[in-house]
Symmetry: none
Subunit: 152 residues, 2 copies
């Protein structure tokens, strides 16, 4: 049975800007034979998204084939999407090194929060995420609306 990235884990940066990947997540990566990951700033939110290499490849490999047939504007869009991405390889302790510019992108001040997103996961500034999170009651209500057909 394949596990997915769920849950949220607090994390901190050491003085060198390194952040550990939680053991639970590391196991999933190992199972997918993705030691390497791809990171890019999220398009919608103030966070960094990390894809297992496999997932990333699946997502963009067809796009590469089709790229020539696209119109210039769309090509530019895709170029920008790819340009912001980078490979990361965890060190022997399972940590990844975050650049200053990456941390600036998510307004990271102190503590971080690693948030599972099923087939990938995100890195948030802890406070930013908590501010964004809606209250329990409102959450339930919106979810009820969204999932009016299916119940969770």
């Amino acid at each position: 049975m394949v596990a997915t990235f769920i849950g949220n884990i607090e994390a901190r940066l050491d003085e060198k800007g390194r952040m550990f990947i939680p053991a639970v997540y590391r196991k999933i990566l190992a199972a997918e034979q993705s030691t390497r990951v791809v990171m890019r700033r999220d398009t919608e939110n103030e966070c960094l998204v990390i894809y297992p290499e496999q997932v990333w490849n699946k997502r963009v490999e067809q796009l590469g084939e089709e790229l020539d047939e696209w119109n210039p504007d769309d090509q530019m869009l895709m170029m920008q999407f790819v340009a912001d991405a980078e490979y990361l390889e965890p060190d022997s302790q399972g940590r990844i090194l975050l650049q200053k510019r990456n941390l600036q992108q998510i307004g990271a001040t102190g503590d971080l929060l690693i948030v599972g997103m099923m087939n990938r996961f995100a890195i948030w500034d802890k406070q930013t995420f908590l501010n964004k999170k809606i209250g329990q009651r409102e959450f339930a209500e919106q979810l009820r609306k969204r999932m009016s057909k299916k119940s969770f």
Copy 2:
């Protein structure tokens, strides 16, 4: 014939925060080949819901794929749903370890109550559940209204 989670069982935490899964429930999990379970705070009530891994997967498996096409608000909603969930693996004695933050979420003070919910089950603070429970007469009445078509 697949058994479902029914009934209610009292449970306590030891000093380490471990709670046993009742033998009846363990048997159901074993039958579903789910040793691992997924736990998350219930959206509607002050309790923790535990899904056999299979049941959880069935609910959310396509969501990861489709997520990209959703609008940002719904994405955020789903992220929050997933972020609050976590895998739990019972130890060899069939116990699961509950974190302090989980217990806070349900206002657990002393005794707990494990309550079956058909394909999943919930952990309540015993007193909270008993307070929430309505009297026998009122219960019958509401049930009659609700199930006016189907008979139990």
